[in-house]
C-alpha cells in the first residue's frame, strides 16, 4: 500500500506556514569560520553498526579468531580494501575508499557516546540528544548547535531563519528542537523494513502459533517478504532508499540559499544474524549516499563535512548465527572536502580478552562528542563553551578534537 498518512508532521506544518519561502533569510553563519560557506551533515545509522566489519582491524592478531567465519581479510574473494596497513575497509565502500585516498575521508575507530548499555532506543537517545544519559528529551544536539551558532548577516530578525534540514518520514531526534527545521522526505519512505517479518516470526513462534502459521503462509505465498534478501523497496533501510534520501538532501543543501545543516537516519544495522550479506547491502547504500552527496553538492563539497555515527557497536566475538550482538565501541565515518582525511583516527584498545569491555565488546577509547565538537568549532565556528553547556550538556571534560578540518 502506498497511501500516505497526512498528519500534522513538521513537514506539513512548514508547508502550511509559508515559512518554506524564507530561504533568503538563511544565515551564512559559517562566514565566522574561515570564510567558508560550509555544509554539515549527520547520518545516523540505526541499529548499531559493527565497526569491526565495516573497518576491520586486519592487523590485530586477535581479530580473525574472534570473528571466525565473518572475519574480513585483504586477500581472496571479497577482500577488504587496505587503508593504513592495520585497518582495512569493507569492500562494498569503493567511494569512501576513493575519498580516503584523496584525503577527503577518515575513520574514527573504537569510539562511543557516553552510553554503555545495550538498548537501541536509549543508545539512539544519547547519541542524538547529546545528553549524558537517556531521558525523554525532545531536542537533539544538532538543533541546539544551530541555535547557538553565530548568525550571519542575512538572518532576518524574528523566527524565520530556517537552517536545518531533516530527511525522512520522521525528523531524527538529533535535529529536532527549537531552531526551525525543514522536513523533506522522498515519497517512497513507507515500506515495511525487511527486518520486521523475521522479528515478528520470532515473536509469534514463541507466543502465538496461529499468527506464526499465517505469517509463514504469507511468506510462503510471497505476500510477505521473508526478510533480509528482500528486493530493493526504497526505504531508509534499503540501499536505493538511502541514496535517494542523500541525493534529495544534497540538492537542497547545494542551493545558494538552501539549508546548511542536515540530518538523515538510515536503518537496518542490527546484524544479529547473517551479518556479512546484510552489511554488504547496507554499506553499499551508505557508500552510494556519500557519492551522491559529493556529486550533488558540486562546488560546495569542498566545504562539506559528513559525520556518520551509530548508537553503539557490537560484540567483538561472533555469535552462533554468523552475526554479532549489542556491544560498545564502533567506527564512525567522516567524509567531505572539508575533512582532513586519509587516516584512521584510533587509540586502538586491542582485542585480547582482558582488553575487551566486559570481556565482550570493543572498548571505546574516543568520545564521539570530541569528534563532533572538533568539527563544530573548526568548520562552523561554534564556541566550545556553548558546546559544553548547551549542545552536549555536562561535557566540559571532553575537549574538541583538533585537526579534523582541512
Amino acid at each position: 500500500m502506498t497511501c500516505e498518512l497526512v498528519t500534522p508532521t513538521r513537514r506539513a506544518v512548514l508547508g502550511a506556514s509559508g515559512a518554506l519561502f524564507a530561504w533568503a533569510f538563511i544565515p551564512r553563519f559559517a562566514h565566522a569560520a574561515g570564510g567558508r560557506d560550509p555544509r554539515f551533515i549527520t547520518i545516523i545509522l540505526r541499529g548499531a553498526l559493527d565497526g569491526l566489519t565495516a573497518v576491520p582491524p586486519v592487523g590485530d592478531p586477535d581479530y580473525e579468531s574472534l570473528r571466525q567465519s565473518i572475519a574480513m581479510t585483504t586477500n581472496g574473494p571479497n577482500a577488504a580494501l587496505p587503508l593504513d596497513g592495520f585497518f582495512a575497509l569493507h569492500p562494498s565502500m569503493p567511494n569512501f575508499n576513493r575519498l580516503y585516498r584523496a584525503g577527503q575521508a577518515a575513520v574514527v575507530h573504537a569510539n562511543a557516546t557516553s552510553y554503555r548499555d545495550r538498548s537501541h532506543f536509549d543508545g539512539q537517545d544519547v547519541l542524538e540528544s547529546g545528553y549524558e544519559a537517556p531521558g525523554r528529551v525532545d531536542s537533539g544536539w544538532l538543533n541546539r548547535m544551530l541555535e547557538g551558532l553565530p548568525q550571519g548577516d542575512k538572518v532576518a530578525s524574528g523566527g524565520s531563519n530556517l537552517r536545518g534540514l531533516a530527511v525522512g518520514a520522521n525528523a531524527p531526534l538529533v535535529i529536532r528542537g527549537k531552531a526551525p527545521v525543514l522536513g523533506w522526505s522522498p515519497s517512497s519512505l513507507q515500506p515495511v523494513s525487511a527486518d520486521l517479518p523475521p522479528r515478528l516470526m520470532d515473536l509469534y513462534t514463541h507466543t502465538d502459533p496461529l499468527f506464526a502459521n499465517i505469517l509463514a503462509e504469507g511468506i510462503a505465498t510471497g505476500k510477505i517478504a521473508a526478510g533480509v534478501d528482500v528486493k530493493a523497496r526504497g526505504g531508509p533501510g534499503d540501499p536505493a532508499g538511502m541514496e535517494q534520501m542523500a541525493r534529495g538532501a544534497a540538492r537542497l543543501l547545494a542551493q545558494d540559499d538552501g539549508p546548511r545543516v542536515a540530518a538523515l537516519a538510515f536503518e537496518g544495522w542490527d546484524t544479529h544474524a547473517g551479518e556479512i550479506g546484510r552489511l554488504t547491502r547496507l554499506l553499499t547504500g551508505l557508500d552510494n549516499s556519500l557519492a551522491a552527496f559529493e556529486q550533488e553538492l558540486g562546488p560546495s563539497w569542498k566545504d562539506t563535512a559528513i559525520v556518520v555515527a551509530t548508537e553503539f557497536g557490537r560484540t567483538a566475538r561472533i555469535n552462533g548465527t554468523d552475526g554479532t550482538d549489542h556491544g560498545t565501541g564502533t567506527a564512525a565515518f567522516l567524509a567531505g572536502g572539508a575533512i582532513k582525511g586519509g587516516r584512521v583516527i584510533a587509540d586502538w584498545p586491542g582485542l585480547k580478552q582482558p582488553q575487551l569491555r566486559d570481556g565482550r565488546d570493543l572498548a571505546a577509547t574516543t568520545d564521539l562528542r570530541a569528534v563532533i565538537k572538533g568539527i563544530a568549532v573548526d568548520l562552523l565556528g561554534a564556541s566550545p563553551a556553548t558546546l559544553a553547556r548547551d549542545v552536549f550538556p555536562g561535557s566540559g571534560f571532553v575537549a574538541p578534537m583538533k585537526g579534523l578540518i582541512a
Binding site: 498518512l5 513537514r11 508547508g15 532506543f121 518520514a169 515478528l200 537496518g268
Partner: protein, 492 residues
C-alpha cells in the same frame, strides 16, 4: 496463577468490549473497569457522527436526485469545449511546495505538465461517504473512554448490513442509515431498531422493496408486476429468526406481501415529500396474511409493523441475536449456556438490548483472560488510530480497509462481514496489517517510546516476549510496528 487484577479487566474492557486504549492507556479506567463499562450502557453512550455534509436521509436523497438530473442534462448536451487546463502556480513549485515532494526530486526541475484532465465535479455520493468516514474515524471513535456503544453500532450496522456498492442511493445513505436507524437504538429495544431499519430508505433500496408490488394491488392493475422477496427473505433469515429459525418459503412470500407498499418517495407526490419513507397503499397487497401461524389483518402499514413486532419477539430471534452477540464478543464457538442466558434475558425483557448486554457482561465467560478472538480489520484500524492518536484523511482509511478485506460499508452481501477468527487470519490479511501498522508507526511522533506504549496500552495482557521484541527493535517506529502487530494487540 494470581487473581486477575482490575488492570486485567481494564485491558479486557478496552480490547474486547471497546475500541482499544487511547493514548492514556488502560490506566484511564483502571480503578473500576466493569463499572466504567456499565456506565457506558446506563448513559447510553453511542456518539453520533456530526458534520456539515452529514444530513438527514431525505435531504441527501433530494440532493442525489438533483445531482442525477444535472448529470442527465449534461450528458444530453453536445460535447462541450474542454475546460482550460489548470496551470500550476510556478511560485508554488520550488522545494517544499505542499510539503510533499515527489520521488526525490528536490531540485524541482518543473516537469512539463501534460494538460491535466478537466477537474471532474465531485461525485456527490462519494463526497458524502467520505464525510461520514471522516466524522467517524476522526471524531466519534476518539470520544468514548471505552467505546462499547461504538462497537455496538458497528455490530448492529453489520447485522443489518447495507452496501455502498449496490448503487448511488445506498452509497450516499449508508452513513445516514447508521445514524438514523442503528445508533439511536443500540441501547434500546430490538423491535424499535428492527422497525427503523426495515422502513429506512437505505434498506428498502438495498433489498429491492421499492420495486415490490402486490400482485393484486391497484398499482398492478395491468397485471405485469409483482413481488420482490428480497427484503422479506433477509428479514427472516438474517435480521430476525436466523437461517434455522423455522420459517418456510411460504412465510417468505407472505412477509413479502405484507410489506408491499413500503417504499421511498422519489419526487414530491401525494405519498409525501421526496426522499422520505412512505406506505403506498396502492402497491400494497390487499387481504389478511398468515405468517408463522399468526394472522395479520389488512390494516395497511400496521400489518407489517405488527408482523415485525412479533418477529422481533420470536424465540428464534432471541436465540439468533444472543448467538451473534456471544460470537462477536466472546468466542467463535459460543458457549451454549451463555447463549441461553442472553436469549432468556432478551425474551424476558421484551428485547431490551441494554439488559442483554448487562447479562453478557455479568458472565464469567465475558471476562476470560484468554484472548481468543482476532480484531477484524475495522476494529484493528480503529484500535491503531486510538492508540496512536493519528487522524488520517478519510480516503486513506477507506483504502486501508479495502486492502485489508473489509471495505467500509461494503460487504459483498446482506449477511455483512464474517465474525470469526478464520475469516481474518490469513497470510494476505497479515500482510496488509503489516503495511497499515507500519504506516501508522511511521506517522507517530518519534519521541513516543514503544516500550512504554505497549505496557501502557496492553497492561497485564502484555507478554514478556512481546515486551522484549519491542525493546529489541532497531528503531522506535519498528518497535511500535511490532507492538501493533503483537498477538496481544491483534487479539481481543
Amino acid at each position: 496463577m494470581t487473581q486477575p487484577s482490575n488492570d486485567v479487566y481494564a485491558a479486557i474492557a478496552l480490547s474486547r468490549f471497546g475500541l482499544g486504549a487511547d493514548s492514556n492507556g488502560i490506566a484511564a479506567i483502571g480503578s473500576d473497569p466493569r463499572g466504567a463499562l456499565r456506565e457506558e450502557i446506563t448513559e447510553r453512550f453511542a456518539p453520533v457522527p456530526v458534520g456539515v455534509e452529514l444530513k438527514p436521509t431525505s435531504d441527501l436523497l433530494v440532493a442525489l436526485y438533483d445531482f442525477q438530473e444535472q448529470r442527465k442534462e449534461l450528458r444530453a448536451q453536445p460535447v462541450a469545449v474542454a475546460a482550460p487546463p489548470v496551470t500550476a502556480n510556478p511560485g508554488l513549485q520550488p522545494a517544499m511546495s505542499g510539503g510533499d515532494m515527489k520521488a526525490g526530486q528536490p531540485s524541482a526541475v518543473p516537469k512539463t505538465m501534460a494538460s491535466p484532465p478537466p477537474a471532474a465535479a465531485p461525485y456527490l455520493p462519494q463526497q458524502v461517504f467520505l464525510a461520514e468516514v471522516d466524522a467517524r474515524f476522526n471524531g466519534t471513535i476518539h470520544q468514548p473512554l471505552i467505546g462499547f456503544g461504538e462497537r455496538l453500532a458497528m455490530f448492529w450496522a453489520n447485522h443489518f448490513a447495507v452496501s455502498t456498492s449496490s448503487g448511488e442511493e445506498v452509497h450516499i445513505l449508508a452513513g445516514a442509515f447508521e445514524r438514523e436507524a442503528i445508533r439511536p437504538h443500540v441501547f434500546g429495544r430490538f423491535s424499535d431498531m428492527l422497525l427503523a431499519v426495515e422502513t429506512h430508505p437505505a434498506m428498502l433500496t438495498f433489498l429491492d422493496n421499492r420495486q415490490s408490488i402486490g400482485p393484486d394491488s391497484k398499482a398492478n392493475a395491468k397485471g405485469k408486476r409483482g413481488l420482490n422477496e428480497n427484503l422479506a427473505r433477509e428479514t427472516l433469515e438474517l435480521h430476525t429468526l436466523g437461517v434455522d429459525g423455522g420459517y418456510t418459503q411460504a412465510d417468505v412470500t407472505t412477509l413479502a406481501r405484507i410489506i408491499t407498499g413500503w417504499t421511498v418517495v422519489r419526487d414530491q407526490s401525494p405519498l409525501g415529500a421526496s426522499g422520505t419513507f412512505a406506505f403506498n397503499a396502492n402497491a400494497h397487497e390487499p387481504g389478511d396474511q398468515t405468517l408463522l401461524g399468526l394472522t395479520y389483518a389488512d390494516n395497511g402499514f400496521g400489518q407489517g409493523r405488527e408482523a415485525l413486532h412479533d418477529l422481533s419477539h420470536h424465540p428464534a430471534t432471541a436465540r439468533h441475536i444472543a448467538t451473534k452477540l456471544v460470537r462477536h464478543f466472546v468466542s467463535d464457538m459460543p458457549p451454549p449456556a451463555l447463549v441461553q442466558k442472553l436469549s432468556a434475558t432478551f425474551t424476558k425483557t421484551d428485547g431490551d438490548l441494554s439488559a442483554v448486554y448487562l447479562a453478557l457482561l455479568g458472565s464469567d465467560e465475558a471476562w476470560d483472560t484468554k484472548l481468543v478472538k482476532i480484531r477484524s480489520p475495522l476494529e484493528f484500524v480503529i484500535a491503531l488510530l486510538r492508540a496512536s492518536g493519528e487522524k488520517p484523511k478519510p480516503n486513506v482509511i477507506v483504502s486501508a480497509l479495502a486492502a485489508m478485506g473489509q471495505p467500509f460499508w461494503a460487504p459483498s452481501g446482506p449477511n455483512g462481514f464474517p465474525d470469526t477468527v478464520d475469516a481474518w487470519a490469513s497470510g494476505q490479511g497479515l500482510s496488509t496489517r503489516m503495511d497499515v501498522a507500519n504506516m501508522i508507526a511511521n506517522a507517530v511522533p518519534s519521541q513516543v517510546d514503544p516500550r512504554r506504549f505497549v505496557s501502557d496500552s496492553l497492561g497485564p495482557l502484555l507478554s514478556e516476549e512481546t515486551l522484549q521484541a519491542v525493546s529489541r527493535a532497531e528503531t522506535r517506529s519498528q518497535g511500535l510496528a511490532i507492538a501493533y502487530l503483537s498477538p496481544e494487540f491483534q487479539r481481543r
